[in-house]
């Protein structure tokens, strides 16, 4: 049933649509958000893997960073002081995953950075967007203007049917590949569209003016291949895809190398690179790239059917007394029909095949370390 949650929660431009569709609303990062629609999480998850799921992610922060000089490279260079990603190397019309780091090498947030010609566009987590904005202003205000897009919705259309659905409105999206980003006209409205997402599927994320978002989504939902999907399916899909949730799998005490996200640190920013270091915690993070981190994020498959949830302590032996790590995300892999989890373990136990034990309701549940992702990623890379 749809029921009112806390009165002070913020609403996205699609709130009325969620209520009309019969969504169950929950508080998430200060917003009243749909956790599921009447179809339920399992159907929403599977439909996204086989056709297309439509997600409202308007709670996320969209921030425009523009160099006061007018030169994009000045904004890119400035941002490189806060993230280890290679921002200067980002081509126009491309997007890249990045991390805000702290002086201890920990992760303050994970984000997307896109090069849109005369400005950079960041997409940050809802729960972090105010602190991210303050962080950007505190560090970049002299060189850049920082403008949150408060009047735009962000919707994600994810799944193998997403391309065909959107191509009916803008045929040119067929030529986009994974992490391309373009301004396109959808229903006569200029939208920023990226070929990206948080499900492991091919798909698109569309930034659209708030007052056009509902009519756009209504139009998409008229296509039988498109099903609305809530935060519940979003979480089960991203876990199967081995993608991190900030606040669960990533936090200020976890480094990019511990999180197995060093792939997001370009060669130019690494030891010996053209612009080596120069971001918060560089010495620690680059040292870990070169010499390894003491612990690593790994995939975990519980033996049997019982899900092991985030927060469960991990032990090296069934009778171990001292935890060696912890599960940070865990649940049920809907497409796999089996429980799955991610967590942090000492480097020595991070090899696939290692057998570990999780504390589960007073007993020890065996699980195997396994490679991530749990399902093949189906991004359109070529």
């Amino acid at each position: 049933m749809a029921q009112a949650t806390e009165p002070l929660l913020k609403r996205t431009p699609l709130h009325a649509m969620h209520v009309r569709l019969g969504a169950r609303m929950v508080a998430f990062a200060g917003y009243d958000m749909p956790v599921q629609y009447p179809a339920g999480i399992i159907k929403e998850h599977l439909h996204t893997r086989t056709a297309a799921g439509l997600f409202d992610v308007s709670h996320m922060g969209q921030i425009i960073v523009r160099a006061r000089s007018g030169r994009l490279e000045d904004a890119a260079r400035a941002l490189e002081a806060l993230v280890p990603a290679d921002v200067l190397g980002l081509a126009e019309g491309r997007q890249r995953y990045a991390l805000f780091t702290n002086p201890a090498g920990g992760i303050l947030d994970d984000l997307m950075v896109a090069h849109l010609g005369d400005h950079l566009r960041l997409v940050v987590n809802a729960a972090c967007k105010d602190t991210d904005e303050a962080h950007l202003r505190a560090r970049l205000a002299e060189e850049c203007t920082i403008d949150p897009l408060r009047d735009h919705a962000l919707v994600a259309l994810q799944g193998p049917s997403a391309e065909a659905v959107l191509a009916a409105f803008a045929p040119e999206i067929r030529s986009m590949r994974f992490m391309d980003i373009r301004t396109l006209h959808l229903l006569g409205e200029a939208c920023v569209v990226s070929r990206s997402g948080y499900t492991g599927e091919d798909g698109f994320e569309i930034s659209i003016k708030a007052d056009r978002a509902a009519i756009f989504c209504d139009t998409l939902l008229q296509n039988a291949n498109v099903m609305p999907a809530g935060l519940g399916a979003r979480d089960s899909l991203r876990l199967e895809a081995g993608l991190c949730l900030y606040g669960s799998d990533l936090d200020p005490a976890t480094t990019p190398v511990e999180a197995a996200l060093e792939w997001s640190i370009g060669k130019a920013r690494r030891t010996g690179g053209a612009r080596s270091g120069g971001f918060p915690g560089a010495e620690i993070i680059l040292g870990q790239i070169d010499r390894g981190a003491p612990r690593r994020r790994v995939g975990l498959k519980p033996e049997g059917r019982a899900p092991v949830r985030g927060g469960a302590a991990l032990f090296g032996r069934a009778d171990g007394a001292v935890p060696i790590g912890a599960v940070t995300s865990g649940g049920f892999g809907v497409s796999l029909g089996a429980p799955i989890a991610m967590g942090y373990v000492p480097a020595a136990q991070a090899t696939p095949g290692s057998r570990l034990f999780a504390e589960l309701r007073g007993r020890r549940q065996a699980l195997q370390v396994c490679p991530l992702p749990f399902v093949p990623l189906r991004y359109k890379r070529a």
């Binding site: 169950r24 399992i42 519940g232 899900p307 049920f332």
Partner: protein, 120 residues
Amino acid sequence: MLKFTPDHEWVRLDGDVATVGITNFAQDKLGDLVFVELPSVGTKLEKGAAAAIVESVKAASDVYAPVSGEVIEVNAKVGNEPALVNSAPTGEGWLFKLKIADATELAALLDEAAYNATIA
């Protein structure tokens, strides 16, 4: 006729045997179930003790013994097919049967009208 607890269990009485499951309201609130852990036959449960676990995609919830008794049968079918609890919570989705230890505890169970009032 079913009896209920405020914790959203239902009870069907047949002589001194109580069949127990979760209510339609509970299954709807939990959403799609993916895992059910049932007690072992022979387990002696006190009224209010955690007897079974039902887990949705998102979270785990305890199912409590509505009355004291010994577990005499469990529904192995829901262990293999937890979705039965969603599709038929008071039918094929039953969880376990108790041999009632103390019939006076039955008086504390709610009738349907009283239960419906708790969820209204």
